[in-house]
Structures are given as structure tokens and as C-alpha cells.
């Protein structure tokens, strides 16, 4: 398992990135915090390790902006859990932010690998 260390998420870019990943995960359907954490790890093929605790402030922040909403539900193994779902505004943000991400990556690539 290629582990990049449990470096805490820090800095504006990384923080924004976590938000984007959460939005993308929720685009597939409602999920609770635990699921979101594992989904991100899985889909990044374990490259991105999320410290589970740091997920919640991010969720709170995004909900505050109105991009996701939350409700209490029952998990697969019958536990009460707080579920999050994307709002229409969140869906719009996901598209916008994804585009922006692409631009940033392109821009950075242009700097790193000049043609």
C-alpha cells in the first residue's frame, strides 16, 4: 500500500480540494461521513488518505454554504448516521469547481512542462 503519510490537510488549495472531493462523492448519491471518507480513499486508490476527523469541519463548512444538506438516517448495518446529499446549488458548484480544477491543473502543467 503506497502510503504518502498522514500529512494533515492544510493550505487553501488542499482544503478546497477536499471540498471538491466531497462534492464529487456525494454526486453519486447521499452518504454519511464514514462512507465519504472510505469512498475518497478507494477512488483515489488509497493515494489520498483522509483523516476522518478533518472531514467533519469540511462537511460543516460546505453545508453552511448551502451546497449540501443533511438528515439523520439508518446505515447499512442499522446504525443511526447523519447523511449528506448534494443540493442543486452544490451540483452547480461541482461543475464549476471541477472546471476550475482542470484549468489549474492545466496551468500548473504548462509551468512544469513547457512545450
Amino acid at each position: 500500500m503506497p502510503k504518502r503519510g498522514n500529512a494533515p490537510i492544510q493550505g487553501e488549495l488542499l482544503q478546497g480540494t477536499l471540498d471538491l472531493l466531497i462534492l464529487k462523492t456525494l454526486a453519486l448519491g447521499p452518504a454519511h461521513g464514514h462512507t465519504i471518507a472510505y469512498a475518497i480513499e478507494h477512488r483515489s486508490e488509497d493515494v489520498l488518505q483522509v483523516e476522518h476527523g478533518s472531514l467533519y469541519p469540511a462537511l460543516h463548512r460546505i453545508e453552511d454554504r448551502g451546497w449540501i444538506s443533511s438528515f439523520w438516517g439508518t446505515s447499512e448495518n442499522n446504525r443511526r448516521a447523519r447523511y449528506y446529499r448534494l443540493t442543486p446549488e452544490g451540483r452547480k458548484q461541482l461543475t464549476e469547481q471541477t472546471n476550475r480544477w482542470d484549468e489549474i491543473v492545466k496551468a500548473i502543467n504548462r509551468v512544469l512542462r513547457p512545450a
Binding site: H32, G33, H34, E51, H52, G53, S54, Y56, P57, H60, R61, D64, S75, N77, R79, R80, A81, R82
Partner: protein, 895 residues
């Protein structure tokens, strides 16, 4: 949005806690499923999740407004501290409430009297027209509280001025509602046609008066009544419109009612009935002022045209003045004529209305200064208490500082307590002020002078109280807080453990505060004594006549239909009958009852030389001096042989003899009244010599006074004023006189008052000053004494150890008491010294309000210092005694 979340931040936190619990549970389930032991599963899950407290705190911080959060924390802490110490809280809040309440009361009264504008549209556009100059030397007859203009002058101003879009004249007579018998006075207004239009006052019902109602010679004029009168007399019934109203025996038709908020233009009064100015002759009959060039009774106010300022209006009025005064010249003596022709009109802002109550302005400012001092003393006292508490917590604060708390944070916590006290005190003070100011206004009213002063709090009062709260808070809260946090933690922790004596430096501030308190309260006690002694001097002074058992009856014959020539006979007839009623010891007619508000004076020619000073005149019947219990010193009383055609005679007073005859016996000497050219100057022979008597004002020194027979050239008038000496109960005496008047003619209106109540009412201002300054002085002395007691108790407590050692080494109780008392004496002495100097300076501001003593009166200063000193020494004796009862072994064993 952020704020609503702030309010729900506690619930949010619970929610997060549950969510994190759930996360943990799911992870543990997953770990168990992977085959871990329960213990391993739990540990691994916790590791994966990280520090949940940190997560929750991060989210909590996102939800909160940091500044507000800390503030609430500090305030909660403050409430807890106050609850722990209810005695301290009560004393602190109560003393502040008294201080703030007294201040707010004075401010509220000043605001109502001086600062607040009239409740009409755009009051700042209003300007009053008057003769320019501070005290124009006018001759003639004056009537009413605001006798500024004559009607002939007013009519010219109305017709010729260009500065105002509209302008009106008004006077405030007292009308009589009764048909005869005992009078029923109502507060009236004579207003010119543009009154309501200029003020932009709309009627609540019916209509207001207009220019069409005010036509010279009107016979059945309309009347507009105030809301209050409408409620009182008609129970608020709409049927009042069209109703007939009898004022001074003349019918008026009620055509309108004004809204509740409108009281006229005079601050401190409420009008009941407003009628057109053209109705003045209906009330005054042949003595109407409307065509009198020397009859002053009107005041005028105009609304400035757009773009005009008061200065510009004043200049305009000045420019159009000369012909007006030339055309309205009355028959004056040459020098009066000259000054009349030199008069010019002017204008002053009238947005705050006019008021005769403004004689109270200076006393009120002075009282406000007094109450500010009371508040300062209270603040000094609180600061001292807070310092003591801060010292007691010295070690706690040192520990917190050592652990890394910031100075500002701890200081803020200490100040929070002060904020709470200040807010609670100011709140209670504001409530107190509402009540106090009402009581005060009520106490300003007298039998003949009803006062309505709207003292309801407005934004000015509110901001004043808020300012007071903030200032007090700064004064008593900030200094101790800075002081408490400025200690070096190490020192404080070392020093507290086994202290022997406080350092001089630490204790210095508290000493200064006590000295300041003593000094300030001495100033207030001196002030109180000055005013109390002023009142005493006035109450006990010899007015020149015996005040008790003296009844004043004012009988108005105007509606009896008696022609002027027969009026003196009718008066004499009634007086004669009155004297024969059982129980009436004596009675006499007098034109101007002493201190009754009316006065007359004349210029004299003595020994052929015209004298510049005016001399007070009074017209009396025989037996006046016996009725007043002021027997003549020499010569004879007026008698029935002094008639309109006999030799003019006069009785003069001691002061008259002194001023005009160098103190010689005046009997047999003569003088003339200086009349305008072309009028005979009759010669009066002095036949009687009377004691000095107060005339217009108890505060005036004795002045020359001439009594002449009412039968000889008294100015005509339908009012008979009688002084009656009788030991009958007052109600019996008044009903006897009322019945007698009715017998003579049913339309005669009678008004009564006793000489004592008249004199008492004339001293209202002094009574007010004496009562209030006495109360504040006592309050200040009390607070300062408590302060001294507190500091001495505290000093004794801090020096327990030292005193214990002294006693163990052989000091006896007397020495310990002496030691404490010497310390108290030093503080007191310093305070008294500073206070005496401050008192002498401060009393100068009050000098015009004093009577019969100088501002620096040594006896007053000494008495004040002695009283304050004695009380303070008693207060410090208690802690001294406590110190001397100390058990040395116990004191040393402690700590």
C-alpha cells in the same frame, strides 16, 4: 444568519458529537468485520478518526462570534460573582441608582424646560419678536407673564413685517368659569388670528381659530379648547362642539378641540381655552389694553420665511422699528419718551418655546452639578470597594497570569462585573428618575400657579443615562482592573503569603479616593447648609407685618355693572360690612398685597427736586396697619376725613425717611408725584410714619414705600383686595366673605389665599434648593462615611498580623485605637482641607441664590466640616475598636 446559528451553537455541538459517535460505531463494526478483537477495533477506529474534541472545537469556532462569546462568558462570570456577594451588589447598585437617578431627574427637568423644542412642525423656524436689549426700560402698565409688546405695536408689526410667512401675538390670561361667588380659574389664551396657522397645529375635532375670527370689536367669539380641558369638563364628549362656554361672564362658542400633545407655546403650562385676541375687551371691559400705547401684555412669535435666518429677521425688524415707536408714543415723562423712541425691535429663536419657569434654570444646573458630585462620590466609593476585592483576589489573578492568561482578558473579566453593576444601577436610576421628576414638578405648582411640565424621557434623556452608566463604569471599574492586572505574578504570590503591612504604594490610591470623597461631600454639605440657612433666613425674617391669621380676599366687581365712579363707594361699603361680621377682627383694603405679585411705583419730586429713583406706592384704606399688626411709629392713620377733595396725605416708612430726609422725622414734610408734562403734580403731606415692610419680594431689602389713601387718586379698577385678620377657621372665614359678596351682588367673584401660603409660595425656589441640596448633601456625607469606614476596616484587616505583633509586644488597646484613628484623622483632615477650599470656590456659583449670608460664610464652613468630621470619626472608631479587641495569639496563628 450567523447570529441565529450563534444562538443555537450549543445544540449544534451536541449534534456533531452524536455524528462523530456514529462514525466511530460504524468504523468499529467494520473493524470487527475484518476480524479484529473488540479492543483492537475500538482503538483502531479512534486512531483513524483522530481527536474528536479538536474537531468539535473547530466546528464550534466556525459557529461562534468570538467577541460575543467571550463577552457572554465574562458577563456570566460577573453575575456569579455578584450573586456570591449579594451585600456588595446591593450597596453598589443602590448607590449608583441613587446617583444616576438624581442626575437623570435634573437632566430630565432641564431637558423639558430648556432643551426640548415645541411639539409643532419645524420649531426651528419660529422666532419671537421683542424689543431688543436685555432689559428695556419701559414705562406703563404690565399684565401677564410675558408682557413684551403692546397691542398698537403688535398691529403695526403684523401689518408691516416682511420676515415671517406668518406671525401671531398671544397672551395668557386667567379666565373665570364661574357665574359668581368663588372663582373657578382656567388657563386661557388670547391669540391673534394666525396663531394656529403659524404653529401649523391642526384641530382634533372641529376647527381651529383663523384670521377671520380675530376682528376688532367681535362680540360672540368662538373658542378652541384643549384636549385636557375637553376631557375634564366634557368627559371627552363630541357634543362639546357647539357648546356655549362662559368666560368672565361672556358667552363663547366651542368650535374646536386641539390634539392631546399641544399645550400652547409656554413651556410648563397647559392652556385650557384659546379665544381670539379681539375678545380681550369682553374680559377687561373699560380697562382694555387693546388701544393703550403703554399697555404691555402681548408676546409675538413668527415663522421665518424660507431662506430667512433669525439674524436677518432681527435686522429687518430693527430697520422698520422707528416709525412704529413714533406712532405709538404714549403720554410719558420726557426721559421715558426718549427711551421709548430709542427702542428697536429684535428677534430671538423661539423653537423651545417661552417659559416663566426658566428662573429655575440656574438652580437646576446647580443641582445637576450637585448630583454629578454625588455620583462621583458614589463612583469613588465603588472604586474603593472594587480595589479591595481585587486585592483579595490578588493571588488568584497572579496564578492565572502565570499560567498564561493575558492581562487584557483578565482585565476584561474584572470590568465585566463593573459593567453589570453600572447597567443595573443606571436602569434602576432611570426608573427612579421618572418618579422623582414627577414629584418635583408637582412640588413646583402653587395654589395660583399650576405647572404642567412634560418630563417623559426622550432620546436625550436616554443617551444621558447611557452616558452616565458608561462614565461610572469607566470610573469605578477600569482603574481597579488595570491596577489588579498590573502586578508581577511572582511578587504577588510571594507577598500574599505572609504579609505584615501593605506597602504604601498599594494603599495610596485608596487613600486618595477617600480624601476625594471627603472633599466632594464637604462641598455638598456646605452647599446644603448654605441653602437651608438661606431658606431659614427668609422664613424667619421680619417682613414688617404679622403673617399669621391673615387672609387675603380678592373680590372682582367687574360683572356687577357698577360704573367706575361708583366703584370706590361700592368697595368701601363691602369693606364696612365685612368688618362687622362676627369673628373678623380687622380688615382693610390694599391695592398691592405685599409679596402678592402686583406692584406700583411713582417718581417723586422732594423739596422741589425731581428724584431719579422710583418709589414703591400702595393705596390703602384706614386700619391697614392695625390689620397687618404693624402699628404706626408716629403720626396718624388714614381716616374718613381723607377724601378725594381734601388735602392729599401720605404715610411713609423708615427707609423713605432715611433716603429722602436723611433720617429726620418726616411728619409734616411734603413731596409731589412727578407726572408727565401738562398733568398737575399734586402735593402730598406726610401725616404718618410707618415701620419698614417688604413690598414686592421677600428677598428685596427694605425700600422706601409710600402709603396713600385709596380715596385719593387711586388708579381705577374693579378689583377689591382686602386683607382680613381673623382667628376663624379658614373655611368659615371664606364662606362668610363669599356669602357677603353674594349679598352685595351675585356676580362678584371671590378668590382667597392666606398670607402664609402666599409667602411660602414666593419662596418656592429656596425651598426646592434647600430640600434637594439637603438631601444630596446628606447622601454624599453618608456615602463618604461608608467609604471611610470601608477603607479603615480594610486597613485593619490587612494589618491584623502587624497589630497582633504590636499587641503581643505590649501595645495596649488604647494605643491601637489611637493608631487607627490617627490614620483616619489624617485622611479626614486632608479631605476637609481640600473640601473647604473647593467649597469656597464652588459657593460663588450659588451666590445669587443665597439670602442673608455670604458664599464663604465661616460659620457654615465650620459647621459643615465639624458635622462631617464627627460622623466620619464615629465611622472609623468602629474598625479601630475592632482592631483593639484583636486576640494577638489568634491573629498571629492565622495564615
Amino acid at each position: 444568519m450567523a447570529f441565529s446559528k450563534f444562538l443555537r451553537r450549543g445544540r449544534w455541538d451536541d449534534e456533531r458529537a452524536r455524528e462523530l459517535e456514529a462514525h466511530l460505531a460504524i468504523e468499529i463494526d467494520a473493524n470487527l468485520a475484518r476480524g479484529m478483537t473488540p479492543q483492537e477495533a475500538r482503538d483502531a477506529a479512534r486512531r483513524k478518526l483522530g481527536n474528536t474534541t479538536l474537531v468539535r472545537e473547530e466546528i464550534y469556532r466556525m459557529n461562534t462570534i468570538a467577541f460575543l462569546e467571550a463577552l457572554i462568558q465574562d458577563l456570566r462570570y460577573g453575575v456569579r460573582l455578584l450573586r456570591l456577594n449579594p451585600g456588595f451588589a446591593a450597596v453598589a447598585i443602590l448607590s449608583l441608582a441613587l446617583g444616576v437617578g438624581a442626575n437623570a431627574t435634573m437632566f430630565q427637568l432641564l431637558n423639558a424646560l430648556r432643551i426640548r423644542t415645541l411639539p409643532v412642525a419645524q420649531p426651528e423656524q419660529l422666532a419671537a419678536v421683542r424689543i431688543a436689549g436685555d432689559n428695556p426700560n419701559r414705562a406703563g402698565s404690565f399684565n401677564g407673564r410675558h408682557a413684551v409688546l403692546t397691542n398698537p405695536l403688535w398691529e403695526r408689526i403684523r401689518d408691516r413685517q416682511d420676515a415671517f410667512s406668518s406671525v401671531f401675538a398671544w397672551a395668557s390670561p386667567t379666565f373665570d368659569l364661574s357665574a359668581g361667588g368663588e372663582s373657578r380659574p382656567v388657563d386661557g389664551l388670547w391669540v391673534s388670528g394666525e396663531f394656529f396657522n403659524t404653529l401649523a397645529v391642526r384641530p382634533m375635532l372641529g376647527r381651529v381659530l383663523t384670521a377671520a375670527d380675530d376682528r376688532r370689536g367681535c362680540t360672540a367669539p368662538p373658542a378652541v379648547i384643549s384636549y385636557g380641558f375637553w376631557q375634564r369638563e366634557y368627559g371627552g364628549s363630541a357634543a362639546a362642539l357647539g357648546h356655549a362656554l362662559t368666560l368672565d361672564g361672556n358667552p363663547y362658542e366651542i368650535v374646536g378641540i386641539t390634539a392631546p400633545g399641544f399645550f400652547g407655546v409656554e413651556i410648563g403650562r397647559h392652556f385650557d381655552v384659546a379665544v381670539p385676541l379681539c375678545a380681550e375687551p369682553l374680559s377687561r371691559g373699560p380697562h382694555s389694553y387693546l388701544d393703550r400705547n403703554d399697555g404691555w401684555f402681548l408676546a409675538a412669535i413668527g415663522r421665518l420665511k424660507p431662506g430667512w435666518t433669525v439674524e436677518k429677521a432681527a435686522a429687518h425688524l430693527r430697520a422698520i422699528s422707528p416709525p412704529m415707536f413714533k406712532e405709538t408714543l404714549a403720554k410719558y415723562r420726557p426721559e421715558d419718551e426718549k427711551s421709548y423712541l430709542d427702542f428697536r425691535l429684535g428677534a430671538i429663536p423661539a423653537g423651545t418655546g417661552v417659559s416663566s419657569l426658566r428662573e429655575y434654570e440656574r438652580p437646576l444646573w446647580l443641582l445637576l452639578a450637585t448630583t454629578v458630585m454625588v455620583l462621583l462620590i458614589a463612583c469613588a466609593n465603588l472604586a474603593n470597594l472594587m480595589l479591595a476585592r481585587a486585592t483579595a483576589r490578588e493571588r488568584e489573578i497572579a496564578v492565572r497570569l502565570a499560567l498564561g492568561a493575558s492581562r487584557v482578558r483578565i482585565g476584561r473579566q474584572l470590568v465585566a462585573e463593573s459593567v453589570l453593576i453600572a447597567v443595573a444601577g443606571a436602569g434602576a436610576g432611570a426608573v427612579l428618575a421618572q418618579w422623582l421628576s414627577r414629584v418635583l414638578v408637582a412640588s413646583l405648582a402653587t395654589q395660583n400657579d399650576r405647572v404642567f411640565l412634560e418630563v417623559a424621557g426622550d432620546w436625550r434623556v436616554f443617551s444621558f443615562i447611557a452616558m452616565l452608566a458608561a462614565a461610572t463604569c469607566l470610573l469605578f471599574g477600569l482603574l481597579p482592573a488595570i491596577r489588579a492586572t498590573a502586578t508581577a505574578p511572582g511578587d504577588a504570590m510571594k507577598a500574599g503569603s505572609r504579609g505584615t503591612t501593605d506597602t504604601r504604594e498599594r494603599f495610596g490610591l485608596r487613600r486618595v479616593l477617600v480624601v476625594a470623597q471627603v472633599a466632594l461631600s464637604l462641598v455638598l454639605v456646605v452647599g446644603a447648609l448654605l441653602f437651608v440657612r438661606t431658606l431659614r433666613n427668609l422664613v424667619t425674617l421680619d417682613a414688617g407685618f404679622a403673617q399669621s391669621d391673615l387672609l387675603i380676599a380678592v373680590l372682582n366687581f367687574q360683572r356687577a355693572g357698577i360704573p367706575d365712579v361708583r366703584m370706590p363707594a361700592a368697595h368701601a361699603d363691602l369693606l364696612d360690612r365685612l368688618r362687622h361680621q362676627p369673628g373678623m377682627e380687622d380688615a382693610a383694603k390694599v391695592r398691592n398685597v405685599p409679596v402678592g405679585g402686583s406692584f406700583s411705583n411713582r417718581d417723586l419730586i422732594v423739596g422741589g427736586v425731581a428724584r431719579r429713583e422710583s418709589v414703591n406706592f400702595n393705596w390703602i384704606s384706614d386700619r391697614y396697619f392695625r390689620t397687618m399688626s404693624a402699628p404706626l411709629l408716629a403720626g396718624r392713620d388714614i381716616n374718613e376725613r381723607d377724601t378725594a377733595t381734601s388735602q392729599r396725605v401720605a404715610i411713609v416708612t423708615e427707609s423713605f425717611a432715611r433716603v429722602f430726609f436723611g433720617g429726620q422725622n418726616p411728619l409734616g414734610k411734603t413731596f409731589q408725584i412727578d407726572e408727565p408734562p401738562g398733568t398737575p403734580k399734586p402735593v402730598y403731606e406726610i401725616v404718618g410714619f410707618a415701620r419698614d415692610s417688604k413690598y414686592n419680594d421677600l428677598r428685596d431689602p427694605f425700600e422706601p414705600l409710600v402709603y396713600v389713601p385709596a380715596t385719593q387718586n387711586e388708579p381705577p379698577g374693579s378689583t377689591l383686595r382686602v386683607v382680613v385678620r381673623s382667628r376663624l377657621p379658614i373655611t368659615q372665614a371664606t364662606s362668610t366673605i363669599t356669602a357677603l359678596a353674594r349679598e352685595v351682588h351675585p356676580s362678584i367673584v371671590v378668590e382667597f389665599r392666606t398670607m402664609q401660603s402666599q409667602l411660602r409660595d414666593s419662596l418656592m425656589r429656596e425651598r426646592l434648593m434647600a430640600t434637594l441640596s439637603g438631601f444630596f448633601g446628606a447622601l454624599a456625607a453618608l456615602i463618604a462615611t461608608i467609604g471611610l469606614y470601608g477603607v479603615m476596616s480594610y486597613m485593619v484587616a490587612r494589618r491584623r498580623n502587624e497589630i497582633g505583633i504590636r499587641m503581643a509586644l505590649g501595645a495596649d488597646r488604647r494605643e491601637v485605637v489611637g493608631m487607627v484613628m490617627r490614620e483616619a484623622g489624617r485622611l479626614l483632615g486632608a479631605g476637609v482641607l481640600v473640601g473647604l477650599v473647593a467649597s469656597i470656590v464652588a459657593a460663588r456659583a450659588a451666590s445669587t441664590l443665597l439670602f442673608g449670608l455670604s458664599p464663604g460664610d465661616p460659620l457654615t464652613l465650620l459647621t459643615a466640616a465639624a458635622v462631617l468630621g464627627a460622623v466620619a470619626m464615629v465611622a472609623s472608631y468602629l474598625p479601630a475598636l475592632r482592631a483593639s479587641r484583636l486576640e494577638p495569639t489568634e491573629a498571629l496563628r492565622e495564615e
